[in-house]
Every structure is written in C-alpha cells, then in structure tokens.
C-alpha cells in the first residue's frame, strides 16, 4: 500500500480488498481453487453413487440368484412389493420404531440434560460417563442385551423375579424390547446435544425473568425451549433418520422375528437380497426406504433451517 495521505492519522486503506490474490496468481486459478480442492471428495462420492444408481436400476429388473441374466420388468417389482402385506408390515414396524424411540429418547434426553445442567456433584461425575453406551457398537449392545434378556439365565428376569417364562423377545414384547435397547444406546446422544445447547445460552434473560418472579416451568417453556430448539431439532433429525434405517442391534437380537414383528425395512431388504438372493426385491425395498428417508430429511432440514434463522435473528 503506497497511500500518501498526509496530515491524517487514519489507517491506510486495508489491503483486504483482494485478500485472496497475491499478485502472481491469475483469477481463474483463484476461482477454480475450491473446486479443485473438492474434486477428490466428489470423485469418492461419485464412486459410491455408481452402486447407488445400480441399486436403483436393480429395482426395475428381475435380478436374483436364480435369474442371473436379468431383464427389464419396469415397475413390476414396485407393484408387487406395494401390494405385499409383508412390505406394509415392515413400514408399520419401522414407523412405530422410529416414532416411539425418537419420542422417548427426546423426553429422557432433555430431562437428563436439564438434570445434568444443575451441576450437582453427582451430575459432574455422571457427565463424564454419559457417553459410554453411545460408544458401544450397536451390534455389541445387541449382544449384551440379548444375554440380559435371555429367559433362562438372563439377569433382567433374575433381578425383577420374572422367572424363566417371561420372554422379552416374544411376539408381544419383541418390538418394545428392541426399542428399549435403542433408548439405552441413543438417549445419551440427545442429552449431549441438548446439554450443549443449554450451556450455550446467555444467562441474562433467565436472571431477568427470575426477577420478574417467573416459575421454572414457565422459564423452561418460554425462554429455554425456544432458544435450544435448533439443538433439539438436530437431535430429532439424527435420531429419526437413523431409526428409519435401523438394522444392527435389531438384527442381532431378533433377526426380524418372531414372525415379522421386528422386521424393519432394512431387515426386510436384507432377508430378500442377502438371504434369499432376490436382489431386485431387496433393492425395491431399499429404494422405497430411501424415498421415505429423503422426503423426511428434506422436510426436517427445512424446519431446522427456519428454526436456526429464527434463533439467529432472536440473538441479534
């Protein structure tokens, strides 16, 4: 900067105007830079996109182990799957699972976050171990809970004196039992996110409304909840989306049974594709699940966007 302003003490015009460009770098390279940096990542994704497209393509073929030279059958798979009560059973199981698990985890997670936020001595101690269940692989959690649920030697029946006749993975109970495992694994996830949200809040509004004599529930509902809403929504999105495609611990615990009471969409697809080697039918399941996930994701993310903008606006 060779400004020759004299007689004034102001700073010279900042050099920041073209911050990105040391004189020697031409504009096109500067513009291309972010693209160049992203290309490898995009290529990797494109590499995954290929099997994804291939999978979608399978759903319009009659491709299976006994039919290794598939032909195009249009939407036959879709009409067959959509008129199959087993498919709708899987949809029902998946939705019940996702709604119940997400709801319970949100309620418990928010409650635990509020309790931990009180910073009691017990709370400080527990906060450190809060994440432990979350870090146990869901399939290992499935194995542990399977041993604990066992009617003959399971510790749960022993502790609660239920005897060996009470079967946690029976037709009536299995869905609730696998949801309980989900709650065990993922409630800490909700609690951590919400706790982070609460910790990021300013103190002043609470002190002000305390002076005004507001009760804690009023403050929670009118002050805290709106401000941590984006955090709650993020937790809802992650939990609900993951529940729609749940597989690991459910498969280990019940493999979709007894009958089909825990046959979620991914387990149904696994049965069709990998066990029965009917690739087309499995892919049709997955394609429909993907559509469900995609629509839900777009909706929830748009809700989140609005909430985040509102929160940002409220702060500013």
């Amino acid at each position: 900067m060779s400004t020759t302003v004299t007689g004034r003490t102001q700073e010279p015009t900042p050099v920041k105007r073209e911050p990105d460009r040391p004189p020697s770098v031409p504009t096109w390279r500067r513009k291309a830079r972010p693209y160049l940096l992203s290309i490898p990542a995009v290529l990797i994704i494109a590499g995954i996109l290929y099997p994804f497209i291939l999978g979608s393509y399978y759903s319009v073929l009659n491709y299976s182990a006994i039919n290794p030279l598939p032909s195009f059958v249009g939407f036959d798979n879709f009409s067959r799957v959509l008129s199959d009560s087993r498919f709708w059973g899987s949809v029902r199981v998946t939705l019940v699972y996702a709604v119940v698990a997400t709801t319970v985890e949100m309620v418990l997670g928010i409650g635990i976050a509020l309790l931990l936020n009180r910073a009691s001595r017990i709370g400080k101690l527990f906060e450190r171990v809060l994440i432990l269940p979350l870090m146990v692989a869901p399939v290992i959690a499935g194995v542990i809970w399977g041993l604990m649920y066992n009617p003959q030697f399971g510790v749960i029946n022993h502790i609660f004196g239920l005897g060996s006749t009470f079967n946690w993975l029976s037709t009536d109970m299995a869905l609730w039992s696998v949801i309980l495992v989900d709650v065990w694994i993922f409630t800490p996830f909700v609690a951590i996110l919400v706790l982070a949200g609460i910790r990021s809040l300013p103190k002043e509004p609470f002190e002000a409304s305390e002076v005004d004599g507001a009760g804690w529930f009023y403050m929670f509902r009118r002050l805290m909840l709106p401000m941590i809403w984006p955090y709650i929504l993020v937790a809802v999105i992650f939990r609900f989306m993951d529940c729609l495609k749940i597989f690991d611990h459910v498969y280990v615990l019940t493999a979709g049974g007894p009958g089909a009471v825990t046959r979620t969409l991914q387990i149904g697809a696994y049965e069709d594709s990998i066990i029965n080697l009917n690739y087309s039918q499995g892919s049709t399941y997955m394609f429909l699940l993907w559509v469900l996930v995609f629509i839900t994701a777009r909706y929830l993310v748009s809700v989140l966007g609005k909430a985040q903008r509102r929160a940002a606006g409220a702060e500013g």
Partner: protein, 288 residues
C-alpha cells in the same frame, strides 16, 4: 426453584434431592449393561449362565479369545479380526483425511457455486440406508475380486468416515479467522503454504478429534463387514456375533470377553476426545 435452571446455584431442597435420585436411576440403567458385560467376561465357563454379582474373577476368557484356543473352540480367529478392524478403520480414516481436509477447507473458507449442494450430498450419505449401496457392492465386489478383502473394507468404510471428517472440519475452518492466512499471504506465502503452515496447524485439535470420531464410527460399523466379507477380512463386530454360535455350543463368557475387547478402543478414544464430541456427533450441524 427457578435457580434450578441455572448452573452453579444450588441448594438442598426436596426438588434437588429428587433430581439427584432421577439421575442416579438413569445412570444405573445406562451403566448396568456395561458392568454386566464386564462381569460376565470375568466368569468361568461354569458360571456363565449364573446371575451372581460376587465371584472370583478370572482373566482366562480374554486369554482364550485372543489365542488359538478360542479359534479352535469357536472357529473365530478373533485376533485376526482385530487386526483387520484396525487396518481397515485406520485406512479409511487416513484416506478420508487426505481427501476430506482439502474439501473441508474449501467448504469452510469459500462460498462457491454449488458448495451447499456438494456439502449436502456428502451429508446425505450419513442418512442413506446402507443396504441401498451394499447390495450392488456385494455383486460388484464379487465381480472385481474385492469381496472379503481389507482394501474392499477400506473403500466402503469411506461412506462412514468421509462425511464425518468433512463436516466436522468444515466448521473448524469456518471458525478460523481468515486474517491469519491473509497475514501469511502478505508475507509472501503462497495460498498453499499459508494453508499448510498456518491454517492446518491451528485446526490440528479438530483434525485429531474428527479422525478419532471417524475411527470410532468405522470401528462400530456392522453391516458393511457382515455383507462384504467372509472369513478373511471379517471385523470385530461381526466376529462377536459368531461367538454366540448358531445351533452349537454358545460361549457366553467368551462372547462377553470379546465384546469388552472390541468396545475398549472406542470407549478410550471417546473419553479422550470428550470435549470435541458434540461438534463431532452433530457433524457440525449445530455449532457447539
């Protein structure tokens, strides 16, 4: 009562005692399965179906699981699956870092046309149903010889690690004041040198956290190894379920020992990066 909402102000009241009781109840529920798994892993075969809490513990199960004896008993070579898990997870994280860090930098530093689409596409793989891509990959892997190989596992675990690395690091790069790099540019650094010498060292904690979290997620993955590997490149999560046996003798205490071993790396890593966990778990979707 109002004070309960704010940290650092606390009195002994009926409410606070109830709150502590509720917390203890949750943590009893949350920690019991882990405690039970450890206890079971320390029991002898004769005690494996017992529900005792007091017994004389033995480390025998761990020794069996990790030795040839376990392999002979259960036909699961657990040590080899451990090695596979380490190699394929570390490999996936390494590749994700090499490829993901520049992409995260680009996304965090510049707003370019299509940047949001690229980022959303990367994130959408977090929510894609795994089987959608695995079924075709199952067919492709058989055709090109990647089935049941560690290279095949590294490639597919990218699906887990890449979105994580890119999204977490993007928010770190966004938080980094651009002035620092501009100062370096003014000193005559090239953009690349400014990135390597200035930006990269400053986000090193973020890179470490992202890498460890990505490693944990890859380690805990089950579906990919279940479908895309056989006996050669199987991972620990798949191996554990094999201990439960199908039809034959089940070795519950060995299963528990294997589960403890397999859960240790993620637990230790998670405790070591606890400070960074929220940003990681939410993939930068909320700033924390």
């Amino acid at each position: 009562m109002v004070k309960e909402l704010l940290p650092g102000r606390r009195r002994f009241t009926a409410g606070s005692v109830l709150a502590d009781i509720a917390l203890v109840a949750w943590f009893a529920f949350a920690l019991f399965p882990i405690l039970w798994m450890v206890l079971l892993a320390l029991k002898t075969p004769a005690e494996q179906t017992s529900t005792y809490f007091v017994f004389s513990p033995t480390l025998e199960n761990f020794a069996i699981v990790l030795s040839d004896r376990g392999t002979a008993l259960t036909s699961v070579d657990f040590t080899s699956t451990l090695i596979t898990s380490v190699i394929s997870c570390a490999g996936a994280v390494l590749v994700s870092l090499v490829i993901g860090v520049p992409a995260a930098y680009a996304a965090g530093r510049w707003k370019y046309r299509g940047s949001n689409d690229v980022m959303f596409t990367i994130l959408s793989f977090r929510f894609a149903p795994e089987l959608m891509v695995i079924v075709p990959l199952f067919v492709i892997y058989h055709q090109i010889g990647l089935f049941d190989t560690r290279v095949g596992m590294i490639w597919v675990l990218q699906l887990v690690t890449m979105p994580l690395v890119v999204w977490i690091l993007r928010s770190y790069f966004q938080d980094l004041p651009e002035d620092l790099e501009q100062a370096a540019l003014l000193d005559g650094y090239t953009r690349r040198r400014a990135f390597v010498m200035v930006a990269l060292p400053l986000v090193r904690p973020g890179i470490a956290a992202a890498a460890l979290l990505a490693f944990i997620f890859a380690w805990n993955n089950y579906v990919f190894a279940l479908i895309l590997t056989g006996n050669e490149a199987s991972t620990v999560t798949v191996a554990i379920t094999k201990f439960l046996g199908g039809g034959g003798q089940a070795y519950y205490n060995l299963t528990a020992a294997a589960a403890v071993i397999a859960a240790l790396p993620p637990l230790i890593l998670a405790l070591s990066i606890q400070r960074y966990l929220v940003r990681g778990l939410s993939f930068g979707a909320v700033k924390a």
